[in-house]
Amino acid sequence: MSESQRNRERDSEATFGEYGGQYVPEALMPAVQELEDAYERYVLENEDGFMDEFRERMRDFGGRPTPLQRADRLSERYDREIYLKREDLLHGGAHKLNNALGQVLLAKYMGKERIIAETGAGQHGTATAMAAAHLDMPCEIYMGRTDINRQRPNVYRMRMNGAEVNPVDAGSATLKEAINETMRDWATTVERTHYVIGSIVGPHPFPKVVRDFQAVIGREAREQIQEQAGRLPDSVVACAGGGSNTMGAFHEFVPDESVALHAVEAGGSSLDIDEKKGLAPNSATLSTGTDGVLHGAMTKLLQSGDGQIMESHSVSAGLDYAGVGPELSHLVDTGRVTPVSVDDDDALNGFHRLSRLEGIIPALESSHALGYLERAAGPAADGRAAKPRDENYEELGDLVVVNVSGRGDKDLETVLEETEKRDLEAAPEVEVFDS
């Protein structure tokens, strides 16, 4: 059996341990199986040079490789070598394009005629709209009316790229209703439409498809760190919402057992859960969730005892999701990935710290990974006595790669509002914000 055959067999499994699977309406099963077939042929076997074209377009259109940058001042602050994987420099401003371009190209190879996607804050929607424009595919994005009103600039970007943005008015008119509406569209038009899922979630093979398109992050970082620091890192740190930037950063390092993998979840305002109201004031699924089935896969979830999905919360819209990729659930259960979390305040401090110390304004999602550095390795005498050091800090080691999954231009307003409400140690003086 050739290596590629072996990989293919392993990769064509629908589950990661007990997680994953294909819990979808019957009408979608053929589409999901068609995607499995396409995944195996084009992604795993590079049929018709699919992966070559993908890589070339990610280079010329997307801007790959992205740099791995030694962060001089963070390294000094944390008294260890900190390297930043700069996905914020990717076209569109986040790692999302790796996946969106891959899937739209795959849809094209599959002969699909139309692209749909859901979006919450708009990051995945803008990436998909860009990819669809680039590859000349009609594209419709479902987005809750509430989110549309909160995220105007991203709506405009999608429209500028020629995508239709379909407002969803049902319920709270946010991400969850947008997902339902996209599912409905897909269930209706499945024969000619590809649904571009935005993270390593959904039914098999989506979690693998998305992971493989995102794995370039870790593949590059692994080469770059060896070139720049002369060895493998002691740890890789990435934020985790659905988990696509996370597995993208981790995948290549999974076999390197000496490398600790820290998935930083959104601790929101608290890790406690209000069962009565069905509210989780966090999105720390890996840290606090229980097993269940959501959006096509068995995975860890924020859910009530009855099985109702909770409303999650995070200051960062892109992490605000009650589920998580099944592969991460599995890697956490097997101990390969360490789930940690930082709260909204820590994330905001992480945002300000990188902006001021390194001249990089990170996405609020990525700011969680940066906030975790402080929690795990920050100077002790920093007035932070109230919060204990993260217990996993020793695993960080002397050489750390942090994935900066996106840039924070989209988050400026949120950060201003949230910063004014708080007394943050790393924020510029508040007077700074009114002029």
């Binding site: 699977g21 294909q22 819990y23 979808v24 309406p25 019957e26 009408a27 979608l28 099963m29 053929p30 589409a31 049902a170 319920g171 969850k176 997902i179 339902n180 599912m183 409905r184 269930a187 209706t188 038009t189 499945v190 024969e191 069905g278 229980t290 097993d291 269940g292 089935v293 959501l294 959006h295 096509g296 979830l301 859910q303 005892g305 009855d306 099985g307 109702q308 999905i309």
Partner: protein, 285 residues
């Protein structure tokens, strides 16, 4: 085609379909707008001639539903409907028509102290339910639930979609019990004004299988029912059209039950006309 009685081991559900052929299968969401109302509505449907009654156990992420049923589910959840309450309602119900529960897989998994399908199935059997339909559980993932259903004598109904063909159709039809839920068209649940070609195609594809076939997704009027039955179905499944009636009435409103009963009667009459070949000329889109 089908419709002849099958002597062997007919389940309650199969029996109800074969005996009342062509059967009317009705769906409403439990707890919409309250469990007390649901009790009345179920009884009204029973009186109106429904031969099987599906009760939806609401789940917060109903990805297979159209807007009508999604709204019903939200009303039921807002009213505080829980699996416990649902089963207690079923405990109380005494209907002619056998009852099925329709819910999403996570609701089944989470019943009991850890993720496992058995506690739910046990409790369903105990409450007197005859079958289970799970819109997000394709045959490929159904082994644990089918085993549990078999052990407790419950039918596990599978959906056959317009896209279900070839090997997968074989597999599903070999696993289905009770009836095959024939999805009339691509898309989600919701009342529509016509009967799609996909329905005819699906029924043709299913001709060779000796399992009752009931057609759902979009059936809203007696005339649809007639046309579908004429095309070879053993039953019609009506949900959104009934939920629409509930949505139009205030909570505790007596006429809702009456209207439901009347609607069931219209639909049943339509189905019967279909069986007799008395079908109006379908409007061409």
């Amino acid at each position: 085609m089908s419709g002849e009685t099958n002597a062997q081991t007919d389940s309650d559900i199969e029996a109800a379909i074969r005996e009342n052929h062509p059967a009317l299968i009705s769906y409403i969401t439990a707890g919409d707008p309250s469990l007390e109302d649901t009790k009345e509505y179920v009884e009204a449907l029973d009186r109106g001639g429904a031969d099987l009654i599906e009760l939806g156990l609401p789940f917060s992420e109903p990805i297979a539903e159209g807007p009508t049923i999604q709204a019903a589910i939200n009303r039921a959840l807002d009213a505080g409907t829980t699996p416990q309450g649902f089963f207690e309602l079923v405990d109380e119900l005494e209907t002619e028509a056998p009852l099925l529960v329709m819910t999403y897989y996570n609701m089944i998994l989470q019943y009991g102290s850890e993720p496992d399908v058995r506690p739910f199935v046990e409790r369903a059997a105990e409450a007197g339910l005859s079958g289970i339909i799970v819109p997000d559980l394709p045959a490929e993932e159904a082994d644990p639930l089918r085993d549990a259903c078999d052990d407790h004598g419950l039918d596990l109904v599978f959906i056959v979609a317009p896209t279900t063909e070839g090997e997968r159709l074989e597999t599903i039809m070999s696993q289905v019990s009770g009836f095959a839920y024939v999805q009339a068209r691509l898309g989600t649940t919701g009342a529509r004004a016509d009967v799609s070609n996909a329905t005819h195609d699906s029924l043709t594809r299913l001709e060779e299988y000796d399992v009752p076939k009931a057609v759902g997704f979009g059936v809203s009027e007696g005339d649809h029912a007639a046309e579908i039955v004429e095309a070879g179905a053993d039953g019609v499944i009506v949900g959104s059209a009934l939920v629409d009636i509930i949505a139009e009435h205030e909570e505790g409103d007596a006429p809702a039950a009456d209207d439901l009963e009347a609607k069931a009667r219209e639909l049943k009459r339509g189905a019967l006309r279909g069986a007799e070949g008395d079908v109006p000329e379908p409007e061409q889109p």
